[in-house]
Symmetry: D3
Amino acid sequence: MKELFIADLMGFEEGKQFDSFFLVLAKQQRTTKTNKPYLNLILGDKTGQIEARVWELSDPRIAKEFARGEIVKVRGSFSRYEDRGQVKVDQLRRALTGEADKMDMLPATTRDVGVLWSELEATVASVTNADLKRLLNALLADSAIAQNFREAPAARQLHHAWLGGLLEHVVSLLGLADRVAGHYAVLDRDLLVTGVVLHDIGKIRELEWETGFDYTVEGVLLGHIQMGVDLVEKTIAGLPGFPDRLRTLVLHMILSHHGKLEFGSPKLPMIPEALVLNFVDDLDAKMQAMASEFEKCAREGKAADELTGKVWALDNRQLLNTKGWLKGGE
Amino acid sequence: MKELFIADLMGFEEGKQFDSFFLVLAKQQRTTKTNKPYLNLILGDKTGQIEARVWELSDPRIAKEFARGEIVKVRGSFSRYEDRGQVKVDQLRRALTGEADKMDMLPATTRDVGVLWSELEATVASVTNADLKRLLNALLADSAIAQNFREAPAARQLHHAWLGGLLEHVVSLLGLADRVAGHYAVLDRDLLVTGVVLHDIGKIRELEWETGFDYTVEGVLLGHIQMGVDLVEKTIAGLPGFPDRLRTLVLHMILSHHGKLEFGSPKLPMIPEALVLNFVDDLDAKMQAMASEFEKCAREGKAADELTGKVWALDNRQLLNTKGWLKGGE
Amino acid sequence: MKELFIADLMGFEEGKQFDSFFLVLAKQQRTTKTNKPYLNLILGDKTGQIEARVWELSDPRIAKEFARGEIVKVRGSFSRYEDRGQVKVDQLRRALTGEADKMDMLPATTRDVGVLWSELEATVASVTNADLKRLLNALLADSAIAQNFREAPAARQLHHAWLGGLLEHVVSLLGLADRVAGHYAVLDRDLLVTGVVLHDIGKIRELEWETGFDYTVEGVLLGHIQMGVDLVEKTIAGLPGFPDRLRTLVLHMILSHHGKLEFGSPKLPMIPEALVLNFVDDLDAKMQAMASEFEKCAREGKAADELTGKVWALDNRQLLNTKGWLKGGE
Amino acid sequence: MKELFIADLMGFEEGKQFDSFFLVLAKQQRTTKTNKPYLNLILGDKTGQIEARVWELSDPRIAKEFARGEIVKVRGSFSRYEDRGQVKVDQLRRALTGEADKMDMLPATTRDVGVLWSELEATVASVTNADLKRLLNALLADSAIAQNFREAPAARQLHHAWLGGLLEHVVSLLGLADRVAGHYAVLDRDLLVTGVVLHDIGKIRELEWETGFDYTVEGVLLGHIQMGVDLVEKTIAGLPGFPDRLRTLVLHMILSHHGKLEFGSPKLPMIPEALVLNFVDDLDAKMQAMASEFEKCAREGKAADELTGKVWALDNRQLLNTKGWLKGGE
Amino acid sequence: MKELFIADLMGFEEGKQFDSFFLVLAKQQRTTKTNKPYLNLILGDKTGQIEARVWELSDPRIAKEFARGEIVKVRGSFSRYEDRGQVKVDQLRRALTGEADKMDMLPATTRDVGVLWSELEATVASVTNADLKRLLNALLADSAIAQNFREAPAARQLHHAWLGGLLEHVVSLLGLADRVAGHYAVLDRDLLVTGVVLHDIGKIRELEWETGFDYTVEGVLLGHIQMGVDLVEKTIAGLPGFPDRLRTLVLHMILSHHGKLEFGSPKLPMIPEALVLNFVDDLDAKMQAMASEFEKCAREGKAADELTGKVWALDNRQLLNTKGWLKGGE
Amino acid sequence: MKELFIADLMGFEEGKQFDSFFLVLAKQQRTTKTNKPYLNLILGDKTGQIEARVWELSDPRIAKEFARGEIVKVRGSFSRYEDRGQVKVDQLRRALTGEADKMDMLPATTRDVGVLWSELEATVASVTNADLKRLLNALLADSAIAQNFREAPAARQLHHAWLGGLLEHVVSLLGLADRVAGHYAVLDRDLLVTGVVLHDIGKIRELEWETGFDYTVEGVLLGHIQMGVDLVEKTIAGLPGFPDRLRTLVLHMILSHHGKLEFGSPKLPMIPEALVLNFVDDLDAKMQAMASEFEKCAREGKAADELTGKVWALDNRQLLNTKGWLKGGE
C-alpha cells in the first residue's frame, strides 16, 4: 500500500529517489527548446499535487499506455524550483489491482467516515415525524446512494472539497441545526433535520470524484439543486401516502437553500426551516473557509498574528486568527 | 346565458337597470359614515371588473350566502363617478348550474382555442425526432394536462393574463421559433420546438384560474420551472428507452428559459436551442407588452402619436407607436 | 392608572363612551369641506394607534394647550369606518403627574424586563476573560446606560420596535450565540458574548423613545455603530491596562456587525467571532420578522395555511407558516 | 502572391524552411540572458498569428527599417514549443508594391463579399418607403462608405472580428430581421431593415483595420453609435424633404440598439422596430460566439460531447454542442 | 398685467373674491356623487399651482372653449381644505393678446436674465482659443438659439426647473469651473469653458416650456446629449477650418458629461476637462437640490435645526442645514 | 549619503559596477534549475524598485543577517532583460546608523514638506471659528501627530502613495476647497476647511511606512475613518466647552467623506460642507490619477497623442492628454 505521500516529498533533500503510487490528474506531451519531446504530468494523492516530468520516452521502464484518471507506480527523484517541488520520473507503470487504494489518491476527510455515518443515522433515528423518517430511511437504505453519500466531496474546490466532504458537511450542519432548533420554538426540528440531510444530496450526481473532483456534464446542465429534487421526488413517489404538503415543503427547502436567486436557488426561503437551513449552510461554509485559510497560513509559515491574504470565498476580505493575534500581543 | 358584459355597462346612461351574471372577485362588509353597514363587491367577467354595492343587506331579494369565486346573478343599476363606473345592486342570487359559463367570467383569449390547439398539434406532428415526438404526444394525450393547457393563463397579470393565454403564447412562440430555426443551421428544430411547447407547462400547476387568476401555494413554494420539470420527468419515466442525454437537454431548456439566475432560472442557457428559446420567449413577452400598452392608450383616448406612460414590464420606459407617430406627422 | 387600551376599543360597539390616557403622537388642525376647523390627532398607547377628532375646538372641556409627545386624558366615543376605528373626542386635558405611566403609552416587550436583565447579568458573570468582564461590568454599572439599555427599542419600526426591544433582542442573541459557540471550537466565547452585548449599544443614543420612536439628529448624522464604538472606547479609556489588541477586536465586532458595506458597516467581519455575530444578528432579526408577520396574519383573520403578504424586511417575499400549512392539509 | 499561410505552418516538420508574406503586428527589441539583443515579432495573416525571432540583427539579409503595420517577405524555419509554433527568421524585407494583397494579411470573412453586397443591395431594393430607400441608396452610393462597409470588421475581437465582418453581420441580421418582421404585423419592415443596415455603420470610423484591428482615438472618444448617427444625420441633410419624424425614428434605432444604458446606448428602445433590432443584434452576436467557441474546441481537439471552457462573451458560462453531445451518447 | 399670484392666494381669507390671469395646466370633466358634471382645472403661474373647480358649466360667463396651455382670465374665490387651497371659479375667459405675459405664467429664475446673458458673453469673450471662440460666438449669434437659451428651464422638475434655469445653471457652472481651472495647471480653460456653455444646449430641443415644462417626443427618443451634439456638429460644419481633433474633444465633453453609462452618457470622461465638467455639473446640481430642500422646509415651517425629509435627488438621504442646526444649539 | 538612485541605473550600460544604499523590500531564497541556492531580493529607493540576485551565498562579503525593512549597502552590476533591469550583487552589508537617510529610501513628495506645512498652518490660522481653530491647533500641536502627518503617504498605492503624500493631498484640497467655498454662499468655510484637514487623519494610524507602505493590522480591522474619528473625539474631549453640535458635524464630515456606503463611509454626506468635501476629495484623487498616468506614459515613451492604457483607478477607462493630442494634430 501507499506509504509515501506528496506532502512528505516537500521535506526531501533534492535528488533523493523514492517509489510510490499516484493518481494521474493530467498528462501532456511537450517539447524542450531543443525540440526534444517529453511528458509533463500532474500527479496527485490525498495530500496534494505535484508536477512530474518523464524525459526518456523510449525507456522501456516507462509504460507507453496510461491515462488521466489511472493510478500509477512511479520511481523518481525530487527537486525543488522556486518554492515548488518537481518529480523526475525514472520508472512508471500502471498500478495492479489491489496495489493501491483509491481513498489514498484524493484528499479525504480526516474524520472517520464510519463514525460520521453513525452520527447521521442517529439523527435520522431521532426524527419523530413518521413520513420524514420513512423518506430519510428510504434514501439511506439505497446502497448506491449511501455509498455515494459517504464518498462524495461537497465541492470541486472551496469548502469541503475532499472525499467524504459532503457527509462531513452534513453532519456538522446537523449539529448546528439542532442547536438552533432548540433556540426557536417555532421550528419543526424534524423538517429542519430532513432539509439538512437532503439539501445537497444532488451533489452525488453533480460531481464525479474518480479522477480528481469535477462536475459531470449533466451536473453542469441541471445542477445539484434540480438533481436533488429529482432524487427526492422519485423516492417519495415510492412511499405510499406521503402527504402532498409535506413533500412540497421538503422540495421547497432543497430549492431555496442557496438563499438568493443569483446564487442559483430558483426560490427564496419562505418557511422558517428553510430560512434557518440557508443560514446554517452559509455560516458553516464560511467558518470552514476561515479555518482552511488559517491552516494554509500556518502551513506557509505566516506568523499567527498576521492577517491572511484576501480570501475569495469571503468576498476577498482578509482574515485574522483571533487567538493567534491576542497571543501575539501578550 | 350571459348577454350583457361589463364593457357594455360603461356605455349605459346612469340609473338604467339591467340583469346579468358575474364572478365575485371580492366581497367585503363596510360601514357608511353614518354607521350603516353595506357590502362592497368586485364583480368581474371576461371584459373587465366593476365595483358594486349592496345597501340593503336585509332585503330578502339579496342572497345571504355567496362567496368569492362564485358566479352570481345580479339585478342592478349603473352609475359613474370620476371616470369609473359602479353598480348599485337591487337583487342578487347564486347562479344555478348551467345558467352561466365560466369562460364568460374571466378574460379569455380572443383567438379560437380549437384553432390554436390544432396549430400546436400540427407542430408536434412535424417533429421528426421519434423520442421528442413520443414525449410531446404523451403529454398532450393526457386529458387533464391538455384541458389545463387549453385553459391556463400565461401569467397572473402582465403578458397573456387571460384564459387560453398560455396556449396562445406557446403557439405564437412556435411560429417565431420556426422562423429563427430556419435562419441558423446549427439549431436542432425538434429540440427547439419541444422546448417551446414545454417551457411554461408548469404554469398549469403554478396558477389557478377558478376565481380570478392567482398562484397556488405550491406554485409559490416551488415555481413553474420546477413544476414543469417534474411533469416532464414523470412523463419521460413512462417512456421506455428515452435517451438519457436527450432528457437532460429537454430539462435544461426548461430550467434555463428565464435566461438569468436573478429571473429565477437556476441555470443559464448553455446550448444553442436554450439560448434561442430564452430570446424568443423574452421578445414575445415584450412585443405583447408593447401591443397591450398601445391598445390601452387607444382605449383611454390618447392621441396615436403621443408617448405612452412608463411601462413597468419594459423597465419603466415610455413607448411610441411607430405608425401612429409617422401618420401624425404627415 | 390606565385600564383601557386601544386594542380594547376595537371590540367596542359604536358610540360607546369611555375614558382613558393616551400619548399624543400627532396633532394637526384641518378644515371640513364646509370650512369648519377641527383637530385631527393620532393617539397611541402600548397596544397600538388610533385616529381621533376634536370637532368643538371652543368647548371649554377641550384643553387649549397640549402638544405632540404629551400624555392626555380623553373622554370620547368610538366609531368604525372601513375597517379602521376612530375616536370622537368629547373632553381632553393633559395628564397630571403620576396619573399615567409612560410604559403604558408605547408598545413594550411582553417579557419581564427584570428577568431579561438578570439573564444579561448572568451571561456577563459567566465571562472568564477578566478584561472583557471589566468592560461589560463597567458599562452595565453606569446607571444612565443601564436605564437606557432597559428601555430602548431595537429599532424605529421593523424588528423589536418596542420598549425593551433592544434588551430582548440582545438576550435572545446571547442564547443563540452560546449555542453556536458550543459548536465551533475555534470561537472565543467571551469575545462573542461581549460583541453580542455591545453591538447595538449605540442605539441608546441613536434612538429616542419619549414621543414615539424616532432617530435623534445626532443619530442620523453619526449612526449607532459609531455611537456604540464611541461609548465603548470611552469606557475602555477608563480601564487601566486594557489590552490594545483586545480593544481593537471589540471595536471591530461593533463596526462590522452589519456584515456588508452597503448595510452601513464600514468594515467586513474578519475574525470568526465577528462573522458569527453578523449571522446570529441577521438570523434573529429575520426569525423575529417571520414571527411578527405570522402573528399579524392571525390577528387579521387569515387562514393559518395561507401565504402571508409580501414582507418588506425579507426582500418582499411571501411567507408560509409551516405548522399551519401542514395542519391545514390533514 | 501569398501561397503559404500561418495555419499551414502548424503542420510543418520542425526546421523546414519556407518563404511567405506577413503583416507585422508587433515588433520589439529584447535581450537574451546572455545580453545579446534580438527582435521579437508577431507576424500575422488571415489565418492567424505567430511569434517570430530575428537573432542576427546585423545580417545584411535582414532589413533595418520596417515597422508595425507593414507587409514583409520572410524566409525562415518553423519550430514548435509547448503547443505553440515559432518562426526563426533568416531573411526579411519589406514587400514591394503589388507583391502581396492586404486581404490575405488579416482574417477575413469566408463568405464572398460580392455576394454579401448583392444581398444587401437586394434588401435595399425591396424597401418600399421612398424616403428610407433614398437614405439607404445615398449611403451605399458613396464609394468611400461602400468600400469601408465592405472591408470593416464588426469588432476588434469577439464576434465577427475579421475583414468583411460588419457586412457579414448585417446580412445575417437582415435575414433574421425579415423572418421576425413576418411574424409581427405591428412591425414596419422598411424601418426595421433600415435600422439593421445602419445600426453599426459608425464602426467604419470607430475601427481601423490597416494594421490589425484597433479602435481609432476618435472612435474611443465618440463611439460608433455617435459616429453612425452623425453619418446618417449628414446624409439626411442632403435629402430634401426627408420627413423629420422618420429621421428621428432612424436615429433613435441607432442610438438604442445596444438595449441598455450600461451597454453604451444613451436611450432604450421605445418603438417596436428598435426593440426587435436590439434583440436580433444581441441574438446573432451570441449565436456567432457559440459557433466560434464550438469551432475553437474542435480545432483544439476537444471531444464533441465535452463542455467548452467558460466563454467571456456569454457571461463566462460553459457551452455544449447539442449535436455532438447527442451523438456522443448513442 | 398680472398683479395677483397664486402664492398670494394662500394668505387670503376664505371666500374672498379676486381676478387674475393663469395658465391652464390641466382640464378634466368630472361628476359629483350626485352625478352633476363639473370641471376640474389645474391653474398655474410662476409662483405655483392651484386646483380650481367650475361648478356651473352652463353659466354664460364661463367660456366654452379653452384648452390646456392657454392663458385664461379668472374671477373666483378662494377656500382651503386640508392644507391645500382651492379656487371656485365664477367667471372664466381666454386672455386677450397682450393682456398677460407668458413669463408671469411659469416659474422663472429670480436672477435678471439680461445680467446672466452678459456674464455668459463676458466669459465667451475671455476665451483665447480662436476656434472655440468662433464656435461659441456662432451659436450665441443665432437668434433662435439665443432666445431659447435664455428661456429654457434646465429640467422638467428637480434642479433649475424654471424659465431661465438653463442659463442660470450654465452661468453658475462657469464661475465654479473657472475656480477649478485656476487650481489645476493641466486644465485647458478654453476647452472647459466651451464644455460648460455647450454641455446642456440640447435641452433647448429636448424640453418645451410653452404649457408647463415637458419633454418633446423627439427629446424622449433622442435625448439632449444627442441633440446638443447634433447642434454643435452642424454649427462646426459651417466654420471652415475648424480643427478635427478639437471638434472631437468638444463633442466628447458633451457626450460624457453625465459621467456614467447608466446616467445616459454613452462615453466616460477621458480627458481632464471632461472629468472636471462632469464633477462641477454634478456638484452644482446637488448643491442646488440642497438649497431648494432647505427653502422648502423653511416655507413649510420646519424648525431650522430639524432634518429635512428624504430627498430623492440625493439618494433619498435626509439633509441638515448647518447654520440652522448650529444656531439652534446655542 | 545616497547619490545613486534606481532610476539612474536604467540608463547604465550593462555590467557597469556601482555602490549604493537601498531598502530591502523583499528577500527570498530560491534554487536554480541546477539546484544551486541563491537569494532573490527586491531593493527599493525613492525612485523605484529593482530585482537583485545574490549568487554566492557563502561569499564573506555578503552579510548573513539582514531582513526585509532594513537599509543595506550594495556593490553590484547592472543588467537588462526583457525591458526590466536587474542587479547582480557582489557585496552587501547592513547600512550603519547615519549612513543613509530613510527619506531617500521610499518615494516621497517632490514638494518641500516645510512649505506644505506652512501652507497648512496658514490655512488653520485663517479659521475664524474659535472652537474649530482650537481643535485644529490642538491636533497640529501634538508633536507625534504632526510628525506623522508630515511623513504619511495618502495610500499604499494609487493616488499620493509616497512619503508626504497625505500632507500634499490635504494642502491641494485646501486650495480647491477654498475656491469652491467662495462660490457657494451657503458654505461654512471654517467647517469645510476643518473637514479637509481632518478627513484622512486616521491614515497616520491605518498605514505604516517604515518598510514600504502597508496597512497596519489595526488599520485593516478598524479603518482610517474610525481611527480618525477616534483621534478627533479624544482631542475634543480635552477641549472644555467644545459645542456638542459642532463636534457632531466634524465627526459627520469624517464619517461621510467617501460619499457612499459601498466605499466604506457608514453615513452619506448630509450637510453642504460634507457634500463638497466628498466631491473635492474625489476630484483631486482622480485628477492626480490622470496626471500620474500621463507621466507614466511619457516615461514609457508613448506618443503624447496616444490613448493611455486602461486605468484601474478610473473604472478601467483609457485617457487622453488634451494638450498632447491637440498638438499632435497640428
